[in-house]
Symmetry: C2
Subunit: 223 residues, 2 copies
């Protein structure tokens, strides 16, 4: 009984601390709906991290709830079920990826477009390691309808790169046997950075970008 009360108090205290960290006045935590506005992103953050670390099937709703600091029943105020939570995370990730890609300046020159894509891919994926990991690993845990939606967004992303490569090939700037395969190969190569790169290692991300861009440029036979 005593232990349970202590846990509650600790949870509430950390909730207030979070509000302060977000730059709000502490008293705003009392406003209507304020706890929901806190809890929803905290559930998403906890699920993202736990799914990435242990895998969707290995993480229980109880564990997510514990991480957030609520009881398991409270999670179902924010998601109808566990599957929807996974789909929501993956869909949001893919939507952000496409939005960020669309926000890049248009490059008429295929070589400039390829360099921009290469650097963008490394930076964007590096900054979202957990979401990338989940989106690559948990496709098989999506129900068919959900799978098709995510898969379509993946294909569109690959097609974007394949388009750049095809343009460069048509213009005689790239020397490529097959633009589509090259797109697959390059994306696999670039996403692979996430498997070994660690903050604080011997190489800066800027240096990694240079090294990978060097390999990409050569691989497509540019110049």
């Amino acid at each position: 009984m005593t232990a349970k009360l202590c846990a509650r108090n600790a949870r509430r205290a950390s909730g207030v601390a979070q509000w302060r960290a977000d730059g709000h006045e502490a008293r705003m935590a009392r406003k209507k709906n304020s706890s929901a506005e806190i809890t929803r992103p905290r559930i998403r953050d906890a699920a993202l991290r736990l799914f990435a670390r242990h895998g969707f099937a290995a993480v229980s709703m109880r564990r997510i709830a514990t991480e957030v600091g609520v009881q398991v029943g409270a999670l179902y105020l924010y998601t109808p079920d566990k599957q929807s939570l996974l789909f929501d995370l993956m869909q949001t990730h893919m939507q952000e990826l496409h939005a960020a890609l669309s926000a890049l300046p248009v490059q008429d020159d295929p070589l400039a477009a390829l360099e921009q894509f290469t650097r963008f891919h490394i930076r964007h994926h590096r900054a979202r390691q957990d979401a990338v990991f989940i989106s690559n690993m948990e496709l098989r845990n999506l129900e068919p309808t959900n799978f098709r939606q995510i898969e379509a967004m993946r294909r569109a992303y690959e097609a974007h790169l394949a388009g750049i490569l095809a343009r460069g090939k048509a213009a005689g700037q790239f020397d490529l046997p097959n633009a589509k395969l090259a797109a697959f190969a390059l994306i696999a190569m670039l996403t692979g950075v996430n498997t070994w790169y660690r903050e604080g290692g011997p190489l800066s991300l800027a240096r990694v970008e240079e090294i990978y861009w060097d390999m990409v440029r050569k691989a497509v036979g540019a110049q």
Copy 2:
């Protein structure tokens, strides 16, 4: 009751068929220990396929048993627990990978060695898609001791390629900023073939080998 007997008979019949397929006389199925010699590999095969398709955490021992055609208790004659079954599959895969790599003829020329490695990697991994998938995806489900062993074998494989690249760089045959990163990049790229290649597609595996070797050769700045 009737249904259960039917299932049993079907199981036994298929067991005998397996023996025939292996080139043994049908009556050898009666020999001492013969069922164990059948059941063990069938458990491994079923686990390999199910883990690859649905993920380690999502596959129950009951499901593996059903696939093999035995009751769940029988699995524990062959593995002390589920974790050991996963580790055994991954360890066997890595050991076979190293054995196959060691069996390749020695190539003094770095370019010849790189071409041999590229073609070997694509072919070997393509022929073992389920084991490769598991070995890449289920590392996080290994207990720490098991993880360290598998991880060491992975690093040794990467180091082999990095060694080829470093030799070629030292000899002035390759133009590379960083041999170790190039090894990571090339392995990610080559393993990626498994994510899209399907038997019966428009490209033969031999053609895929050519296309990827073309990209690898250019990426390392050979010649």
